[in-house]
Amino acid sequence: MQSDATTTGSFVERPKTLADLHAEIASGQTKSADLAAEYFQRIEQKNPRLNVYLSLTKERALAQAARVDAAAAKGDPLGPLAGIPVGIKDVLVMKGAPATAGSKILKGYQPPYDATAVSRLEAAGAVLLGKLNCDEFAMGSSNENSAYGPVRNPVAPDRVPGGSSGGSAAAVAANMAVATLGTDTGGSIRQPASFCGVVGVLPTYGRVSRYGLIAFASSLDRIGPFAANVRDAATLLGAIAGHDPSDATSSPAPVPDYAAESDKPAEGLRIGVPAEYFGEGLDPEVRAAIESGIDSLRAAGCTIQPISLPTTKYAIPTYYLVATAEASANLARFDGVRYGYRSPSSATLSDMYRHSRDEGFGAEVKRRILLGTYALSAGYYDAYYLKAQQVRRLLAEEFLRAFAAVDAIVTPTSPIPPFKLGEKTGDPLAMYLADIYTVTASLAGICGVSVPCGATKAGLPVGMQVLASHLQESTAFRVARAVEAAQERR
């Protein structure tokens, strides 16, 4: 995996593991402050080409690093992420740091509070480096919808890193952070993880508090980690998961020790392979890589079972109706009154709303607001939004029936390898259709991991998506770890 990547791009670099860095920092062999400085230097060097970070939070990072170093010197107990440099997708707020959501409409906004996921990372000792580029309001599959320019894929800089959490995936691939946070509404963690050759986690809906997340589609939005390996991603999830009184949708279910769980062998697990994810439109090289990954699961002692999820073909229209309807409501708050951009040339309140939104939003955001508003408007609500919610139940129940017979389901994360910048921007529907393998788990609320699973002949990464039922992240990690271990042995 690593050798494939390094032959095609000079930006790929593998960070040390969390466990190794943690030991070095605890023993004083590595100073957290030096580690942070090293990362800032690497960012300075690579960012002009890759456009991964939108802003840096140096002062906050160095203050935290100093606290970690002082605690280590005194022999005080250190958090699981002590001194670990981490980047944050720019749809999560950090007190006093710019939060753009990749949009012009939030230019200049500096939120006065921290997202819960952000403060939990810091409480676990993480050193927060800055804010990562993404598609505008997390709407996109290529990071080309950012108002601040696209991110380039560190593996092949003429290609997209995936989206919408393109910066979060690219930062890990290029070692511009040891780990990062992203968000996933229809695939926005898993697909860029696949495109950049890193691990990305979609936690169960409600597993991680969304307090402080700039909302896109509230019944779908989730926050999850990216890392260079499964165990590190599991460690990060452990640090951010759990109930939060500030998010009523966050689950009160206890949080397992995901890192320890990820160490358990996958032997004996029943793995479902759904035929609908291996049909028309799947790139042959991606198929070959995934089939080889399935062979390695069989070799690891898993039982492989063919299954069928026939409602899959309705997932894209269902997702794009639900997501855009919710987005049209969530994005009504951007009106030039309380934060961000206000159009300077408006005589009346109504004009001010219109001009601010028209000048502040990009084309894809407008397209989705229009579609969502249309689907919710009088006369169309039953035919579109209600219908989509009914199909959503069918999709979710189909998954629950499947999980009665298997412990996990494996599929390709994306039907295609990373494509070239500009290749798909002219056809929004074609871009949507490429989300076919990821939107299903989003609608059902189940969890998943995208884990690197080989590469194409040209060295472009392929990711395998491992899905598990609600709150069964530990199972997904075990399967993903088995796939990863087989890759490491190659």
Partner: protein, 103 residues
Amino acid sequence: MTARVTVEDVERVAELANLELTPEESVTMLHDLNAILDHVAHLNELDTTGVAPLAQVGELSGAGGVSVLRQDKRRPSLDRGLVMQQAPETDQAFFKVPKVIER
């Protein structure tokens, strides 16, 4: 569900959404919306008679439960001064907007 969207529909929806589109944008959006809605029409193939809509996955069995509300106790909100600093125009206490009613 197979109804074609017209330019008038696009303009009406844009108005509902407080968006102002240029004539060129309206044409592009018209094309894109029709392409997307044609694809969405596939949902008609599925009989969903009697299927309850699913708005939140928390209600599914094993999904982690429904929303957990915190106690209705007063707690400090964000500092007003900090919030006001982020607004385009304020008088420190309130947000200011262009005139709403002509005298």
